[in-house]
Symmetry: C2
Subunit: 197 residues, 2 copies
């Protein structure tokens, strides 16, 4: 059993790569699917999950006085619910998980392969416009902003740095193509799993 | 014709990986060899090259008043001599070049593949002790210090960030093994070169 986690720059095609990789390895794949699952398991509403997904709250929203002392913020509750869901998934099956600090959540597990996907800024912009309905004139700013959100979220909840090579086992620039990137990741995964035999 | 540049954490095995990769692709490989070549071509002594290799000078040493105005420091002259040698190499042959901001120097060339090698801190320490005669008790500090030197040098002379995934085409954690890392890089190189046909 093994888990592949995929961190990714916004617009780098990480979701497409993760889905294709999962298909080819014949294992399940979780991106937004994880939110629905964590929402179900925790009882927190899907809307709340969507609102807090991979976004870090402001400094003060993390500390909520509730009369008895301090309570967790909604953002922290969402993180913890995802955390529990990711841990359960990793215990029960091989799978591919996109984002959500999964690599950090699973840091004690040995059979976890952590991948990060980048792409040229031109490719990220083109994908944001094509798939996420981002207006072309604002696309570069939105790509930058989304990456900042992801980095802030990751760096807040983990003790590693988002997007640094030493955080991951393998980082690939997907501008060689989605299928080609999947091939390179598969080569790494096969090599790693053969090693462990 | 293509050039593969290899950036690397200290003790990650980058030199070994680069040499093996070059052997398997049957192309030349330049690490310290580059210093000798640049020294010959520039007339600056090899000792000076060794002293300034991938180390950034202090802030004020970059500005030397010489009576007529300001001159380049020795560190900058060494960088420029390496810069010229790397450019010449890339025009005349396929090769593998280790470190020395080669990816940045060759940023306008299309057929350049930029790779970065990391490894677990335990592996980096073990390699530093075994191959570079670093005393075990000081190894962790020396690994950290050497990486800081390399990052400062790279970040000073380039407009990118050393060790960030988005600086490179491919980053591999070599703790899967030297030969295995070479195999993964070869897979990326083949995919990329096939793409360009």
């Amino acid at each position: 059993m093994f888990v592949i986690t995929i961190g990714r720059e916004y617009g780098s095609g990480g979701r497409f790569i993760a889905r294709k990789l999962a298909q080819e390895l014949n294992i399940p794949f979780y991106d937004n699917e994880l939110l629905a699952k964590a929402s179900q398991e925790s009882g927190i509403s899907p809307t709340v999950f969507a609102n807090y997904d991979e976004k870090k709250e402001g400094f003060f929203s993390g500390i909520i006085p509730n009369g008895l002392g301090f309570d967790l913020s909604l953002g922290q509750k969402v993180f913890l619910a995802q955390f529990e869901t990711i841990k359960k998934l990793a215990l029960s099956q091989s799978c591919v998980i996109v984002g959500r600090c999964a690599d950090y959540v699973l840091r004690e597990n040995k059979n976890v392969i952590n991948v990060f996907i980048t792409a040229s800024i031109e490719d990220c912009i083109a994908r944001a416009v094509k798939y996420y309905n981002v207006p072309e004139a604002k696309a570069k700013d939105i790509v930058t902003k989304m990456n900042k959100n992801r980095a802030a979220y990751y760096n807040f909840y983990s003790d590693r740095k988002w997007g640094r090579a030493d955080t991951y086992d393998l980082c690939v620039n997907s501008s060689i193509g989605i299928d080609e990137t999947v091939d390179v990741i598969k080569k790494y995964v096969e090599t790693r799993l053969n090693n462990q035999k």
